[in-house]
């Protein structure tokens, strides 16, 4: 941990990453950094943090930070401008385009990493004042299917349970969720339950992930068949007397249709097994466990959501919980695990194109209510374009102005290369960002607004269990960075909406947001935090984590729906009859495999933050594709080698990981790498842009693909104190390392090209190892005894040990031996080392001679008798005498001491 001035106080805030929403204590070090620890009092984590959260302190540096507004000049370069100029320009251009082409020609694309207050202001501006619902968010890629599923079943986007249910359940079912890596703190909570209470865990996933423990039941089903599995479960529950007939009767509708559909789809164990590719005993074991365990929580995540039938999958799961009445009860509930720190807050303000605001939709009553509350001159009256459709409209030229806030769609959206191309067509392309370069900025952003980053901004976020927590600033804003809400508000004022955007603080916005949630809310809307609408600034600052709803003059409520009280007609939940599972695409001879995508443990989204942490860079430093051994053999790819993965949309070049954990016929590649962190590893560019009809969420996990070996003759790595511009021909992946920047490399070009490339960037103090015949070139440049830049290129087996060299690179000074052996690329630990040679004839080193002196040798002749040194040509005898003179006296006091 970094040393911290005791006078600097710890600030309570929440983590920047996933939807668990862990509480953090951040103690600034007074030099722009901070010590990070878990907040023991936060009910999401009780002091625990995962690897990503723990490393937040390593991500606070200002390298690559966007510090000033910038505008792209005619020659394509970005130039710094004053805030007022940038704001005037953006407002003027928006105004012009809206006047000319109507409000449908502009759009906002937001982020689940925005604070609720930022989200609120953006949503209000677009939907209430510009008059378009073209506000969507990267949450569309994350949990839109859950939102749609909730709304279809419950009449509202309500998460019925809370984290305590994970402690109290006897059966934890994870569907399409690698919680061990993606929601580690919750996963730890489940493990505690498993160990202390004996809860069983079932993992349903096409991929055997680290979430699967040795003694858990793992159901490695065929991709996209979750609906069949849960339909089979519904049938099993009905046939085995496990239904809660009373709950179904009193609180639900549509059960018979749903049951009939389930029977037609998976009417028996064998039909379920056939539809899902699972074995009957496994299916039976799961069904029996579910049927006989009242306290069951079914958690689901991207494996369910990121699907062209994601909404149906959600409803198939919800059907089983509704049919057993296991909802909103301690230890019994369906549970959507959200991916982002404030996906929930975004849903609450209505920052999605198919929501209006505050869990209200586009019904005439809702539109009217929101219009009156906002005093909105031009309220949107129908849904806007959801993410994938929004960017298709940009590609068609229908949307002419786009403002991206806090997200990187050129990496994360499906068919990402087409997204990059579409962005170039925009007449106005504005990005509010923390970083000065990423794939989206580099796709031609014309105006960059420097937004405050995590640790600088202040407001609220809501986690997966509806808990609103404060994110607080503990660092001052660097450069001219401003809060997102301020930036949006300034543009709104310049568009003539000053009166409605005259917010002085995040607290101001929060109060209005809270007031809207309670406005004419007689309990007909789930989202109500009216109890917070009169918070003072001080109370807002001090606000402890709190779960909604927080109705005025009402008791707190941790769960929903145990006694019904749904938000659909007659307060009843609706059973949904899902469609028979069918992926939207088919494999072919040319695309025989399916590409699944996902996350790795220690990276987050497009790595703009986690990519700065050396600690996080250690786990899986390279973009890779995981493939089953049989498929690897069939397609001629080998573990550790490279392969080209090709779909109808794009191509990537990735390291191959051959693993039994991967299902036959499936590939898996992580989503994190972008054009600024690697070459040829934009996995989003491979993904088909096919979406769910209800949620608009794309099917990111089943794109037909092919894999072919790709040979690189040379592998290697480079380390540098400053970022490197690598040669165009090289494959590379950037890795944060202690003391600078690392790059893992592969290449087919001539080694001499690398030598001249290094020569062009390295200083004069250069060490080189050249074995061109053996295909090896290694070099390091130094400043004093510190490595400045080093490059190791060689055949795959001989590129040098990345970890060893990384360790030496981190050092401020190399010892003589370290420098001598650096370019071996190998650890010198445990190697015999005689020291610098004194006797050349017999190869006797200084260290060996000193050892002999320590053992009693007192003359050159003594040494000669022991080591032969000096007994041939004798030219080292003078040096032997010097060594004796320098070394031996030290032994004298020791002997005296012994004598005394």
């Amino acid at each position: 941990m970094t040393a911290v001035d005791p006078h600097l106080r710890a600030t309570k805030t929440t983590c920047a990453y996933c939807g668990v929403g862990c509480g953090i204590l951040a103690t600034p070090d007074g030099r722009g950094g901070a010590a990070i620890s878990g907040d023991p009092e936060h009910p999401a984590n009780f002091g625990r943090l995962c690897s990503k959260g723990s490393a937040l302190g390593e991500t606070l540096g200002l390298e690559n930070r966007l510090l000033h507004p910038m505008i792209r000049c005619d020659n394509g370069t970005m130039e710094r401008v004053a805030w007022s100029d940038a704001l005037d320009h953006v407002a003027h251009r928006f105004q012009h385009i809206i006047a000319r082409d109507g409000p449908g020609a502009v759009a906002f694309y937001l982020s689940g990493q925005l604070l609720t207050e930022d989200y609120y202001v953006a949503n209000k501006l677009m939907k209430g004042f510009v008059g378009s619902a073209n506000v969507d968010t990267n949450s569309r890629l994350c949990m839109a299917s859950s939102v749609a599923g909730h709304r279809r079943a419950f009449g509202a986007d309500t998460v019925p349970g809370c984290y305590e249910d994970l402690d109290e359940a006897d059966l934890l079912v994870l569907v399409g969720s690698n919680a061990a890596w993606c929601h580690p703190v919750l996963y730890q909570r489940m493990l505690v339950n498993k160990q202390s209470r004996g809860a069983r865990i079932v993992v349903i996933d096409p991929r055997r992930t680290d979430t699967v423990g040795d003694d858990d039941l793992f159901l490695g089903l065929k991709p996209g068949t979750d609906t069949a599995l849960f339909s089979g479960l519904l049938v099993h529950l009905a046939d085995n007397g496990a239904l809660d007939r009373d709950y179904i009767e009193r609180h639900t509708s549509g059960f018979d249709d749903a049951m009939a559909r389930a029977r037609s789809m998976a009417g028996s164990l064998s039909a379920t097994a056939l539809a899902t590719g699972l074995s009957e005993p496994d299916v039976a074991a799961f069904f029996q466990m579910f049927a006989t365990t009242p306290r069951v929580v079914t958690m689901y995540s991207q494996g369910v959501n990121q699907s062209a039938q994601g909404t149906d999958k959600v409803n198939a799961i919800l059907n089983c919980h509704l049919a057993t009445g296991r909802i909103g009860k301690p230890g019994a509930s369906p549970f959507s695990l959200t991916g982002q720190p404030n996906a929930m807050g975004g849903r609450e303000v209505g920052g999605l194109a198919n929501q209006l605001a505050a869990h209200m939709g586009f019904t005439p009553a809702d539109i009217d209510r929101v219009r009156r509350f906002w005093k909105a001159p031009r309220i949107a009256t129908h849904e806007g374009l959801k993410a994938v459709q929004m960017f298709e409209a940009i590609a068609r030229g229908e949307i002419k102005a786009l403002w991206v806030i806090g997200t990187n769609p050129a990496v994360s959206l499906p068919n990402a290369d087409a997204i990059s191309a579409a962005l170039k067509k925009l007449e106005l392309f504005v990005v509010s960002e923390n970083v000065v370069t990423n794939d989206t900025v580099d796709a031609g952003a014309q105006v960059l607004f420097p937004a405050q980053a995590w640790g600088e901004k202040s407001g609220t976020v809501t986690n997966s269990e509806r808990r609103i927590s404060r994110q607080r600033a503990f660092l001052s804003s660097p450069g001219e960075a401003r809060p997102d809400w301020w930036i949006i508000g300034e543009v709104a004022k310049r568009l003539g909406f000053g009166a409605a955007f005259n917010f002085a603080s995040a607290a101001d916005i929060f109060r209005e947001h809270a007031a809207l949630s309670a406005f004419e809310n007689d309990g007909g809307r789930d989202f109500d935090i009216g109890g917070l609408q009169a918070l003072s600034d001080e109370a807002f600052d001090a606000m402890a984590p709190v779960q909604w709803p927080i109705r005025q003059n009402a008791e707190p409520q941790a769960r929903f729906f145990a006694e019904g009280g749904f938000f659909a007609g007659e307060q009843k939940a609706r059973f949904i009859a899902p469609e028979t599972p069918a992926l939207r695409t088919e494999t072919t001879a040319a695309r025989p495999l399916r590409l699944n995508t996902g996350r790795v443990r220690d990276q987050w989204h497009t790595m703009t933050r986690t990519g700065m942490s050396p600690r996080l860079g250690q786990h899986l430093p390279e973009p890779f594709v995981e493939v089953h051994p049989d498929d690897a053999a069939r397609h001629g790819v080998a573990d550790g080698d490279f392969a080209r993965v090709t779909t109808d949309y794009g191509q990537c070049t990735l390291r191959v990981v051959v693993s039994e954990r991967q299902q036959r016929g499936m590939l898996f590649a992580p989503i994190h790498w972008s054009a600024v962190t690697a070459t040829g590893a934009r996995v989003g560019s491979l993904v088909a842009p096919l979406t769910d009809p209800f949620s608009g969420q794309p099917e990111n996990k089943a794109t037909p693909a092919s894999i072919t070996p790709y040979e690189y003759v040379f592998r290697g790595f480079a380390l540098s104190r400053t970022p490197l511009e690598l040669p165009d021909h090289a494959w590379w992946a950037r890795v944060a390392v202690n003391g600078g920047h690392g790059y893992l490399l592969a290449d087919n070009a001539d080694l001499r090209g690398w030598q001249s490339w290094l020569g062009s960037i390295a200083g004069d103090d250069l060490a080189e190892y050249k074995d061109f015949g053996g295909g090896v070139y290694r070099a390091a440049s130094f400043a004093a005894d510190r490595i400045e830049t080093c490059l190791f290129i060689g055949p795959a087996r001989d590129a040098g040990d990345w970890n060893v060299v990384k360790g030496l690179f981190a050092a401020d000074a190399l010892s003589n031996d370290q420098r001598r052996m650096l370019l071996s690329g190998k650890s010198i630990d445990g190697l015999a080392n005689a020291g610098p040679i004194v006797c050349a004839c017999f190869g006797v080193g200084r260290t060996t001679i000193c050892d002999a002196i320590a053992a009693g040798a007192r003359s050159a002749a003594d040494i000669g008798a022991k080591l032969k040194a000096g007994t041939n040509c004798g030219s080292c005898i003078p040096e032997l005498k010097r060594v004796i003179a320098q070394t031996a006296p030290a032994a004298v006091p020791q002997q005296l001491a012994v004598a005394n």
């Binding site: 004069d764 103090d765 250069l766 060490a767 080189e768 190892y769 050249k770 074995d771 061109f772 015949g773 053996g774 090896v776 130094f782 060689g794 001989d798 420098r819 001598r820 052996m821 370019l823 071996s824 190998k826 010198i828 445990g830 190697l831 015999a832 080392n833 005689a834 610098p836 040679i837 050349a840 004839c841 017999f842 190869g843 080193g845 041939n872 040509c873 004798g874 030219s875 080292c876 005898i877 003078p878």
Partner: protein, 405 residues
């Protein structure tokens, strides 16, 4: 009765031969050693160390008088052998009686070459070969005389280093475009030059001495390109010539050196030659290591044992002007060979390994010579090195570990 064995020459080869004979044939021969230097045999390699003030002159004696006495050796130093009478088996000694031999060994060594330029005979022109030369050079240095050393080989560098350390301003002129061209490739020579220059020695390459100026004493050196260097003294260190006069006059076959076979015997039976004066298979060695190998072979032969010398793979393995230098085998890299190079010039390290046909065939090391002997062994034994190619540069212990892994 012991057979009379006479050794002419009282240098390092002679001392080693006596040592080896004592091991394998003690008492078989009555040995007499005749040498013209007026002192006990000393370590010639250390003369530069004496010149540099790092070692006292008396400390370089190879063996004390008692050692020779204990081995029954009749030492006649400060005596010049003037003639070998092959037929009568006698060696004539200046101002003394001849001594008879049953076996004769020539270890007459070599002499420095003096360039055939005008002024080469002026006062202040020296060589660097023996103890007496060192005494003269020390006197020059003590007077801060400006010295030009002619010759950028091992000997010239040693002389220049010693003189500079002893306090003389030194300029070294060398005919070739690089130092020690017979041992070093261009980058190694360049690094050595830089390291030697750091010690305050000025080095001129492509510098061909045209004449030495001076009335009676040296005043300067003129090069063929017209450059002129003011100097008070000149030291010739531009090569050596085997001392073969004695043999030649005796009718013993000579070429550049005294021609010997694989047991070090000359064309005349019972007469042998080893060390710098000998020529074996067309090669005259100028280093101590081959002389020692030859001494060992000859001692065994004289002891009646089977022994054969098949030549030495010459390795240079020394400190040159305080810089560790190693060179062995094909250090340039002939066609068909590959080179592996490690250089860290600011750190004073240059290492080149030459491989051909999966074997190490040559090496040059400057600075870091820790694994020199291992390389020499690999070169001499012609072991396959393909498996250790990746680690060979970084030393034996790493290569062994990797091979074991």
């Amino acid at each position: 009765m012991s057979e009379p064995l006479v050794i002419v020459g009282n240098g390092m080869a002679a001392a080693r031969l006596v040592d080896e004979l004592a091991k394998v044939a003690l008492g078989r021969y009555a040995i007499a050693v005749i040498g013209d230097e007026p002192r006990l045999a000393y370590n010639r390699v250390l003369l530069s160390s004496v010149l540099a003030g790092e070692t006292a002159s008396h400390d370089i004696e190879l063996r004390p008088a008692s050692w020779w006495r204990d081995r029954g050796v009749t030492l006649k130093y400060g005596c010049r052998a003037t003639e070998v009478d092959v037929g009568r088996r006698e060696v004539k000694i200046e101002n003394e009686e001849s001594i008879p031999f049953s076996k004769l060994v020539l270890t007459t060594g070599s002499s420095p070459l003096r360039l055939n330029v005008s002024g080469a005979d002026l006062a202040g022109v020296h060589t660097f070969r023996d103890s007496r030369d060192v005494d003269l050079l020390l006197t020059l240095a003590a007077q801060k005389k400006r010295v030009v050393v002619v010759g950028g080989g091992l000997l010239g560098l040693e002389a220049a280093y010693g003189l500079a350390k002893a306090g003389a301003p030194v300029t070294l002129v060398h005919l070739m475009d690089r130092l020690m061209e017979r041992q070093l490739d261009a980058p190694a020579a360049e690094l050595l030059k830089a390291l030697v220059e750091r010690k305050g020695i000025e080095i001129l390459l492509n510098a061909n001495t045209a004449r030495i100026h001076g009335e009676t004493r040296v005043e300067g050196v003129e090069l063929t390109d017209g450059r002129r260097i003011d100097a008070d003294a000149v030291v010739f260190a531009a090569g050596i010539r085997p001392n073969i006069a004695l043999a030649k006059e005796a009718g013993i076959a000579v070429n550049r050196g005294v021609v010997v076979d694989d047991v070090m015997q000359t064309a005349s039976p019972d007469i042998f030659a080893i060390g710098e004066c000998a020529e074996h298979r067309g090669i005259c060695y100028g280093l101590v290591e081959p002389a020692y190998e030859q001494a060992r072979v000859l001692a065994r032969h004289l002891a009646g044992r089977a022994a054969s010398y098949s030549g030495s793979i010459v390795a240079t393995n020394l400190k040159v002007s305080g810089v560790s230098v190693f060179s062995a085998g094909d250090f340039v890299g002939i066609e068909g060979s590959e080179t592996i190079v490690l250089s860290d010039l600011n750190y004073g390290t240059y290492k080149k390994l030459v491989v051909a046909d999966g074997r190490l065939t040559g090496a040059v090391l400057i600075g870091d010579v820790s694994d020199a002997l291992w390389y020499l062994e690999l070169i001499r034994t012609r072991q396959p090195t393909a498996r250790i190619r990746a680690d060979m540069m970084f030393g034996r212990s790493l290569a062994i570990r990797s091979e074991a892994a």
